[in-house]
Symmetry: C2
Subunit: 422 residues, 2 copies
């Protein structure tokens, strides 16, 4: 008997018919003798519907007081779907009970709309499991020390599920979603993309941060911190497929580099079209420049990704970085107003038509020449590299957006990702 | 400066446009210097939508475990509308905060789907009011001692508002609804029905229990127990009407018989088409009959209203009572199966095509002949009375359903209810 956490996304909970299928799947696992905790998202579309109503009523700049109410509002979607799932489980003949975040409790900080989980009291849940009940816990939400409802931000239900699995010391956390696992790259861009049977935690972390949308990055961080065995699998297989087959399906995120793991040098190609490039030209090359420029950006709560400073020439240098496209206009305005005059830079130029393509693989640690192979492949395709950023297990390049698909496909083939694992 | 509780029904909260109007109205009261607590219902249709989803997923007989989940589910409607109202109030430039029942807290017993409020901790709300905030509190719901969400049953938001007003010792509780007050009878049946400027608590209680749908009966009981000044008024007047005019509109439910009160003998005519009559014929006339028959009915959780036992003849009697039409078939089956054989009664007969018409007025205490005038009026119209039930301030008759409108109109005229108060 194992303690298993299932997480179901909004699409999987999208109708009463689908909720019934989720209940049947969970019932299969419970009847196989497992203790089951289930974390559902809101029914698809519900969170957007609620926040749409709020938008119609809101005016002015969102502040804490406003964000608190958004969390009161948005959290109702998960509470409703949790109760519906509990009812569906009862109809399957199981004992089931649902809890909102404040009932468990899932304690978070008070950063409304983007709270972080601090601790989970698992006593109540454990007592229910020992009494033979299936426990449904709302995803996406928690409660702060003052008793306010908080939410974890978009995709937060993944993080809820992993955090609950960590607190309960679950044997495995299964993330049921509308894709059947983690792929070498997005199959919509490269039809030859392959599903990975396993991927290391560090690779998954890089892929999530590089724009792969399978898992919310914080859920992967949480899984890594508490060593929660995590599996991404499809909720669209028939609910009555053999449980042993289901338990091995999808992609397992692992924490040990064991012999059975795929030992490809590069495990996947990630890409991200959400960034924009900003360059501050003709900056006097003196200490404190980076802080002067990026400090102002950070103060405006704009996140910066790739950062590059060119070699200086005649005492002047160019300083480039990328931000999310949504923050682009604000960042440029800010720099023109505050940084350009005080820094004595020549100009600020930007480009929103860029993309970032990355190769990821823990094999890069022990293999030399992986990055240069990437550069050669792109060069052979005539693709100009604008920026480069590297870490221990990934190499990212910023290129013209129009070459993105070409770059992904060329790299996918060059690193043999279209070939079955050895 | 007064402490005022406003309650808005689902129709008043039915769209973002209407929520905005509620916010403007509340803002007007707050700007006039009042401390404001607002209790909104769920947006109209929302509770039905949620319970409809539950119905699709449910199977078997509802038990406590099921009802607990229904309350988790249904309570989200009020939480969402409360948050939306707080956001709308903030857009009006007010400080506003919303609380779910468990946050205040509104403590109830654990009778899921029909819980009763036991106590309200007003500390948090009072601190917010003192800090200049408008406080929005979800109607309809509370929390039990084990931390489960409970709901108070249909119309429970009225009770929430009155209970909160009682706990806060509010100066007045204003129930904004889609009618503009309490009428001498339903204007859809008698176009000459008049709005009452005041009505006594006891009359209101009788009218509510007799089927007048303006206020939930438990909210009236609560108001009476804690002497909460209660006003029913329309939420469809323009929000910017003069506040002094608004404060005097609708119907005030009073607790003192002062000189300014309308001293009509009869204040209103109530009627109820939801009942059915059951007669047990040929019952041996011996002690314990009523208990034998009605005990079985009560054990099945069926509420009984009017009860009549005829004079006995030849040692046998007929025993009649009314139940809600929804319970009629179940009650008849039960009596045939359990009571008829053991009691030795001759037969069970029933009639669902009945209605109950009642005259209500505290003046009946001091005036004789009011009931007999009622019987005379009905007799003059050729209406046969099947059952009679009286209390200190009301007289009810059960008649054939088809005469209901005729009876209401004849009584309304006979007791001068179409005439302006003296």
């Amino acid at each position: 008997m194992a303690l298993i956490v299932h997480k179901y996304g909004g699409t999987s909970m999208g109708s009463t018919e689908r909720i019934r299928n989720v209940a049947k799947r969970v019932a299969k696992w419970a009847r196989a003798g497992h203790q089951m905790v289930v974390v559902p998202s809101a029914m698809s579309g519900e969170t957007n519907r609620l926040l749409g109503l709020a938008k119609e009523l809101a005016s002015g700049t969102p502040n804490d007081e406003h964000n608190r109410e958004l969390d009161m509002l948005a959290s109702t979607g998960e509470q409703a779907s949790s109760a519906l799932l509990a009812i569906a489980l009862q109809s399957e003949g199981l004992q089931a009970v649902s809890y909102a975040g404040w009932q468990v409790q899932v304690k978070t900080d008070s950063a409304f709309t983007k709270a972080r989980i601090e601790r989970i009291d698992d006593e109540r849940v454990r007592a229910d499991l020992d009494a033979g009940k299936v426990v449904v816990i709302t995803g996406f939400q928690g409660v702060d020390d003052a008793g306010n409802i908080t939410t974890l931000g978009r995709g937060g239900s993944d993080t809820s599920a992993v955090a609950i699995a960590a607190a309960m010391k679950a044997n495995e956390c299964l993330i049921y979603t509308d894709v059947d696992g983690v792929y070498t790259t997005d199959p919509r861009v490269e039809p030859d993309a392959r599903r990975l049977a396993t991927v290391s935690f560090e690779e998954m972390l890089e892929m999530a941060s590089l724009g792969s949308k399978v898992l919310q990055i914080r859920s992967v961080e949480f899984a890594g911190k508490y060593k929660v065995p995590l599996r991404v699998l499809s909720s669209f297989t028939p609910w009555d497929i053999d449980i042993n087959e289901e338990a091995k399906s999808g992609t397992l995120i692992t924490f040990e580099e064991d012999e059975n793991m795929e030992q490809a040098v590069v495990s996947g190609i990630a890409f991200n079209r959400d960034e924009a490039k900003i360059s501050v030209l003709g900056v006097p090359d003196k200490p404190g420049i980076a802080y002067h420029i990026l400090g102002a950006v950070a103060d405006a709560n704009i996140e910066v990704d790739v950062i590059i400073q060119n070699l200086s020439k005649d005492g002047r240098t160019d300083f480039s970085f990328t931000v999310h496209r949504n923050d682009y206009a604000r960042a440029v305005d800010l720099l023109k107003a505050k940084v350009l005059p005080t820094l004595g830079a020549a100009d600020i130029v930007g480009d929103t038509k860029i993309c970032k393509v990355s190769i990821v693989g823990i094999g890069m640690r022990s293999h030399v020449g992986v990055a240069s192979k990437m550069f050669r492949v792109l060069s052979e395709e005539g693709i100009n590299i604008q920026m480069i950023s590297t870490s221990e297990i990934k190499t990212s390049v910023v290129i013209d957006e129009k070459y993105m698909e070409l770059a992904v496909r060329a790299l996918h083939k060059a690193f043999d990702l279209d070939q079955p694992a050895a």
